[in-house]
């Protein structure tokens, strides 16, 4: 049994029967969650994360930019930029992928264009994210996620939307 504090309520949920990675979503204020991941990223990122093929792909997709080196990214709009100048959304995705501190990151710092990457990251390893809004996952019509507020596992964007309607913390 695992527990999670959301606002003034403690949610408990059981481990899953299937042994596979799952995306877990908590809506609302979560104690000790990182509310502004881009600032946390600026102060905590590791150089080795930037050259990882996953990071290179996310930066290419979200920021339309190319990773030239650990400390240099080529942006079509801003020109050559440092790692700290990539978008807040992609910084948050990189934290979700590589940060092993166990922290829960506020995915509402990401635009909806990051949703498909969040689903992908949730397939590779267990990922728990915090949301303060109903993120648009319509770019991924079929995905599995455990909504921690209700304990329900959803398997599609449609089910996700229906489930969020009953969550007052959203």
């Amino acid at each position: 049994m695992q527990f999670c504090l959301v606002g003034q309520r403690t949610f408990e949920y059981c481990g899953r029967k299937e042994d596979r990675a799952l995306l877990n979503i908590i809506f609302g204020d979560v104690e000790n969650a990182v509310y502004h991941p881009p600032t946390y990223f600026d102060n905590q990122y590791e150089d080795e994360w930037i050259m990882d093929p996953l990071t290179v792909a996310m930066i290419k997709d979200i920021d339309r930019s190319d990773v030239v080196g650990t400390h240099l990214i080529q942006s079509p709009v801003l020109g050559p930029i440092s790692t700290k100048e990539i978008s807040g959304g992609v910084k948050t995705l990189i934290l979700m992928a590589f940060d092993k501190s166990g922290r829960i990151f506020n995915a509402s710092a990401c635009g909806d264009n990051c949703a498909k990457w969040i689903v992908e990251l949730g397939k590779k390893a267990d990922l728990t994210i915090n949301l303060h809004h109903v993120m648009d996952f319509s770019s991924v019509p079929v995905f599995d996620a455990l909504i921690l507020n209700t304990g329900v596992v959803v398997h599609s964007y449609e089910e996700y939307l229906k489930e969020t309607l009953v969550i007052k913390e959203r």
Binding site: Y35, H36, P38, T39, I62, D63, R64, V77, L78, G79, I86, S87, G88, G89, V90, S108, A109, C110, G111, D112, N113, C114, H132, H133, V134
Partner: protein, 115 residues
């Protein structure tokens, strides 16, 4: 404050043009579309003026608002266009909502979520 105001914020590489016509304007969009950069440019212009290399054209005074002392600063700002980033947690507070309602400024809030 009433009326419609055209704002241009630019440097050598970027140019933003906005028409602000209401007391609250929200700017939202995908990641990496330049929302935070707009706020950063305005902050640089506010702190360093012309020497920031950022040009801001608007017939109304404009500024950014951030930090935990917003409730001390805001009562002393009148008839300006105020830009805020939603990363400031106070933006979601009831206290801030009440302050905006009572204010004679225009507010432009950069956000990424539905409020």
């Amino acid at each position: 404050m009433k009326g419609k105001y055209h704002i241009v914020v630019q440097n050598k590489r970027l140019r933003y043009e906005l028409n602000i016509r209401r007391n609250i304007t929200m700017i939202r969009g995908d990641s990496a579309t330049g929302k935070t950069t707009l706020i950063n440019l305005l902050e640089q212009a506010a702190v360093l003026g012309e020497s920031s290399g950022v040009e801001v054209f608007c017939e109304r005074p404009r500024r950014t608002l951030s930090g935990n002392d917003w409730n001390v600063v805001l009562p002393n700002i009148h008839e300006q266009i105020i830009f805020l980033d939603e990363e400031n947690r106070f933006v979601k507070s009831q206290e801030f909502a009440a302050a905006v309602k009572a204010s004679d400024n225009y507010f432009v809030i950069v956000l990424q979520l539905v409020m």
